[in-house]
Amino acid sequence: MLREAVMRFAKNPFHRRTPSIPFWALRDVSFCGNAGEIIGIVGRNGAGKSTLLKILSKITYATTGRVSVHGRVASLLEVGTGFHEELTGRENIYLNGTVLGMKKREVEQKLEQIVEFSGVQKFIDTPLKRYSSGMALRLGFAVAAHLEADVLIIDEVLAVGDAEFQRKCLKRMEDLHKSGRTVLFVSHNVMAIEYLCPRTIWIDRGRVRRDGDSKDVIREYLAHFASAQKTGSDLKERQDREGTGEMRFTGIEFLEQDGQVKPVTRSGEALTVRLHYRASQAMRDAQFGISWSTEFGSPIASISTADAGYEIPVIPAGNGHIDITFDFLNLMPGRYWVSIWTTGPHHHNTVKNCWDVLERCAAIDLEWADFYRSGHGMGRQHGIIFLPCKWSASMNGGQAPRECASLDSETGNG
């Protein structure tokens, strides 16, 4: 920096420094959170979420503007800040605890709970460098979970760790909120936000884009996100197709059931796929098919008009379209490929004698949805599809069956 300053002076001794273009990481961001409220914050990478949290937690200062917080603030922008690998687990609990603003006495009082929560009792006097990354992470969260602040600022903590760990974190945050803490929670996991926070703020390019009811804000946010990707494809120019060509697909669209373009599709929603085609002549006994595969190409399902017993006696020459509606997409969130084909009434269809075959001609991203109504992350590691279901455990005492018993079975360790 000094070197740069000298160089600048050497190059340009009589002029003032060339004006640099200011970049506002945040601009006109105003909001007010009430005591006991739990607010979600969403936004793309680089939108300014982290800067906002840093300003709120006094790590950095705003160029202009004011932050006023009533009560003790604890910010958790990272799990295990200040951990040193040469120190033992126990020593790191003390260090991390005081770094996060706890008093030594507080740490001492909670030591046992923290150790138990972390689940690394056996290794508590082992240096951290012998821990697996998962163990270190659990230890870090265990300390954080026992913070006694009035206002908690949490950044992307759920982005790490396995499903079990995430579930525990989420549970803990819920408990904190129930005990009257104010929580600000940033996450990319909109499902967790929707589950935890009644209110969400969407930060976009340094400004508050929406602030309001989580359901509305998140829907709009996802829609915005998805519209940057394709909601369909033009297929006219595609070269990577096979078939005889008497009929050609010209486009594919993903639609709402009412025919509107569907900007975002979430797991468990309904979806209509519209296939546009051009027929060179009147086609008899046409068949259409569509198949789904995962991002990595594993086939999931293949459906055709013939299999469904849907007959199309004749298609006139020219342009037209056919719709297929999926009432309930029970696919896990993620990217899927759609392949389509159309053919005549052959008994032994091969790719060659079809009219048109387009493999993986369109991708669709299914967004998170809280389809099990539990709020915690379900993803590809849980398989490709989800099965709508209900749990009920029958208790010996004749209690009424409880829904989702499996998820509540560990309420004891809040």
Binding site: M1, T60, Y61, E86, L87, E91
Partner: protein, 260 residues
């Protein structure tokens, strides 16, 4: 000002744990452990005693040269090690600064506190040497704690300036060891102030370390009066440096998280 002092007090446990961490880590997986704390000044004293005491016949105000140089090496080692540790401490704890808020002053202050342990261990060696040379220990030795406070204040003041500058200009990291080396020769460690020609004495008294080390030394020898003028200049400079350091640090710390 009172507000920030209050906040520092609030975070005293963190201050303590940061220092404790530094001590723990410094001697972990070393065979000699805390012995390293005294080995360094002790070996230097041995070399000085041979080179300057025996070979060069450097005057030492009538005190055994080994005791003469060690009584200065002890505070000097404390000063130099804690200064270089503290000047680099903020950059070394960049991760903490980026992710958590706490009064930033705790970091360099803790680095200095961690070095105080070495000083305490060295003090034991000094007593051993005093006994060995049958040097009469005077009541003036009671000044040591006060002088230690002053030395710590001076080190803190300089560390706050260098540490904050180091966040912005990493040149400091390269300049500090060199500056410390030069300062070693500008401080009466291997030679007594009495050896300096009278007309240059004022110049050397402008080094606040001169007053501290001379006074520390004079407490070991009953017949040597404390040079009040040296003490006064040194004390005034120490307070000024501490005040400037604290002020500068407070101003600079707002930008730490963005800059580091």
């Amino acid at each position: 000002m009172t507000e920030s002092l209050q906040e520092l007090w609030e975070y005293r446990d963190l201050f303590y744990f940061l220092a404790w961490r530094d001590v723990k880590i410094r001697y972990r997986q070393t065979a000699l452990g805390v012995a390293w704390a005294v080995l360094q000044p002790l070996l230097a004293t041995t070399v000085f005693t041979f080179l300057f005491g025996r070979v060069a016949k450097m005057p030492s105000d009538g005190i055994p040269y080994a005791l003469f140089s060690f009584s200065a090496m002890l505070p000097w080692t404390y000063f130099s090690t804690s200064l270089s540790a503290a000047a680099n401490s903020l950059v070394g704890n960049a991760q903490l600064i980026r992710k958590v808020y706490f009064p930033r002053m705790t970091i360099p202050a803790a680095a200095i506190l961690a070095c105080m342990l070495d000083f305490a261990v060295g003090l034991v060696i000094l007593f051993v040497m005093v006994a060995y040379y049958h040097a009469p220990l005077s009541w003036k030795f009671l000044f040591w704690p006060l002088l230690l406070v002053q030395l710590t204040a001076l080190t803190t003041g300089i560390s706050l300036i260098l540490g904050a500058l180091n966040v912005r200009y990493r040149d400091i990291k390269h300049a500090t060891p060199f500056a410390i080396q030069i300062l070693f020769f500008l401080t009466p460690i291997i030679y007594p102030v009495s050896m300096i020609p009278k007309r240059y004495r004022f110049v050397i008294s402008l080094n606040p370390l001169t007053g501290i080390i001379e006074t520390l030394r004079s407490t070991l020898f009953p017949n040597r009066p404390i040079n009040l003028q040296l003490c006064g200049i040194s004390l005034a400079l120490t307070l000024a440096i501490l005040a400037i350091g604290a002020r500068y640090f407070r101003r600079a710390e707002r930008a730490f998280a963005d800059m580091i």
